[in-house]
């Protein structure tokens, strides 16, 4: 049985399915955590009414299921003047890159059985493009937003889409420059190398500035508060005004999937990936350590969202160009000088 599972092709499929299920489950649970967390932070109760079989409330955990069912059965409206093909494609364009990015993340320590090397990431780590892949695919998410906004043929949605793309592009720069520091100190673009380079000391300590820039940019990249200009659900009208039913939920899924990917990337780049004192000596322990870090970063997403108010657009741009990019440059130079000094 175990042997069968460990056959390379089967193992690949097992990994893909497992990762996919876990990510989607985390999306569902994420919405629940988001709403319950928000409620508790605001002295409310939050969703707790939806009961399984009309009996078991289980603290509202069935709410995402109910929401999903609702989305699934809602009437699907396509506006009369919308570009129908792009309108349908946009949610997919948003969602697929978000999940694809996760493929490069190593979520556990690799292991050898019977002389065969098994690694716990979907893409083989041998490809020396790990970090590049992540950024390349991750940047495609913005197309989903801008295409959706444009295809809706609605001035408000195009405004939301414009803002979102400008914001993502601005912060992409700072984010990438921050990562250059990590790549420099590691000397490789391979994510498993990045992780193994952090054995003992996580990157967050020596490259604190870079970590900070990456962390802030992460919020902007995922359109989360305090940078939720794309959506601005409380007052501005976002890129998906014309979307409903499953298409809308695809955008929502994409947002959470993006969050998970970004959080996983932060864990990998700065928090030592699956490294954890004592726990990472077992395979399952390393996966657990990775998930724990991931979940706590995700919680910080929620936490920040219900603490900070939204930035003004000019503040957002000023922060991106005048603070984040210089800071990431400083980080890069410091790392480079340090490496040069050490030889």
């Amino acid at each position: 049985m175990m042997a069968k599972l460990l056959a390379p092709e089967v193992f690949m499929i097992v990994k893909v399915v497992a990762v996919f299920i876990i990510v989607l489950t985390m999306v569902a649970v994420g919405t629940w955590v988001e709403r319950r967390g928000a409620a508790f932070i605001q002295d409310r109760v939050g969703p707790n009414r939806v009961a399984l079989f009309g009996k078991f409330r289980i603290m509202g955990l069935a709410q995402p299921v109910a929401d999903g069912i609702k989305f699934f059965f809602k009437e699907d409206v396509i506006p009369a003047n919308a570009d129908k093909i792009l309108f349908v494609l946009a949610p997919l364009i948003a969602f697929i890159p978000a999940t694809m990015t996760f493929a490069a993340i190593p979520f556990g320590r690799s292991f050898d059985i019977n002389g065969v090397h098994y690694f716990l990431s979907i893409l083989p780590p041998a490809t020396n493009i790990g970090v590049l892949y992540v950024f390349a695919i991750g940047s495609m998410g913005v197309y989903g937003i801008i295409v959706g906004a444009w295809a809706s043929n609605n001035k408000w949605s195009i405004l939301g889409g414009m803002r979102a793309s400008a914001q993502i592009i601005s912060y992409e720069l700072a984010m990438t420059m921050a990562v250059v520091g990590v790549v420099l100190s590691t000397g490789s673009l391979r994510l498993d190398r990045v992780i193994s380079a952090q054995t003992g000391l996580w990157n967050v300590v020596p490259q604190f500035l870079g970590a900070l820039v990456f962390f802030v940019s992460m919020f902007a990249e995922t359109n989360r508060l305090p940078f939720d200009f794309a959506e601005g659900e409380s007052e501005i009208i976002g890129y998906h005004v014309e979307y409903g039913s499953m298409k809308f939920s695809m955008f929502a899924l994409a947002e959470y999937a993006n969050m998970i990917t970004a959080a996983a990337l932060f864990v990998t780049l700065y928090l030592g990936g699956w490294h954890f004192p004592w726990l990472d000596q077992w395979i399952w322990g390393s996966i657990l350590a990775f998930l724990l870090k991931l979940v706590s970063i995700l919680w910080i997403f929620v936490w920040v969202r219900w603490t900070l108010p939204r930035f003004r657009y000019d503040q957002l741009m000023r922060l991106g160009w005048k603070v984040m990019i210089p800071l990431s440059l400083v980080n890069m130079i410091v790392v480079a000088l340090f490496l040069a000094y050490r030889g």
Binding site: F40, I41, D43, V45, W303, W306, T307, L308
Partner: protein, 164 residues
């Protein structure tokens, strides 16, 4: 008025302020997490009913005398006082006159249009017979507009205030 505030470098870093803010929110989070649902601020409505204060003005009630007849004498004082014109009364003669009490008039119809009513309680103030009172009843939704016209028979059946 524009107030110029000079921010120090420490202030302009924003990070400490953000951390303090996050401290506050997480404090609330844990406080609510460990509070049993029955003691939270939010009252879970259908299972638990909020105890409204005794001065709460909810659904109207027409009080009755000991013999079960409506106290209302159709004097129109409430309808006159009503700022929303929500009360409609038609008066009627009582033939069996009780000599101990000067009753010769009673409402034939007494309708309150709940959609017009603003629950100001002026009718209660105006009533010389203590006939109309606003109770603590607040579950007063209807499925149609016609049901919002509350008749005398329904008004008599409105439960009394707890304090009464």
């Amino acid at each position: 008025m524009k107030k110029e505030v000079k921010l120090s470098f420490w202030d302009r870093l924003y990070l400490p302020a953000i951390l303090v803010g996050m401290g506050i929110t997480i404090k609330h989070f844990f406080k609510n997490l460990f509070t049993p649902p029955s003691k939270r601020y939010t009252v879970e409505f259908p299972e638990r009913k909020k105890d409204v204060p005794e001065w709460y003005r909810g659904l109207h009630r027409l009080n009755t005398r000991d013999d079960g007849s409506v106290k209302c004498v159709a004097c129109y004082c409430c309808a006159t006082a009503c700022p929303a014109d929500a009360i409609f009364i038609e008066a009627e003669d009582i033939d069996d006159l009780d000599e101990s009490y000067p009753r010769e008039k009673r409402p034939k119809q007494f309708i309150i249009d709940l959609h017009r009513c603003i629950f100001c309680g002026f009718c209660q103030e105006a009533c010389p017979e203590d006939a109309i009172v606003l109770t603590n009843e607040y579950e007063i939704t209807q499925l149609s507009r016609d049901e919002g016209l509350i008749t005398m028979e329904e008004l008599i059946k409105t439960p009394k205030k707890k304090m009464d």
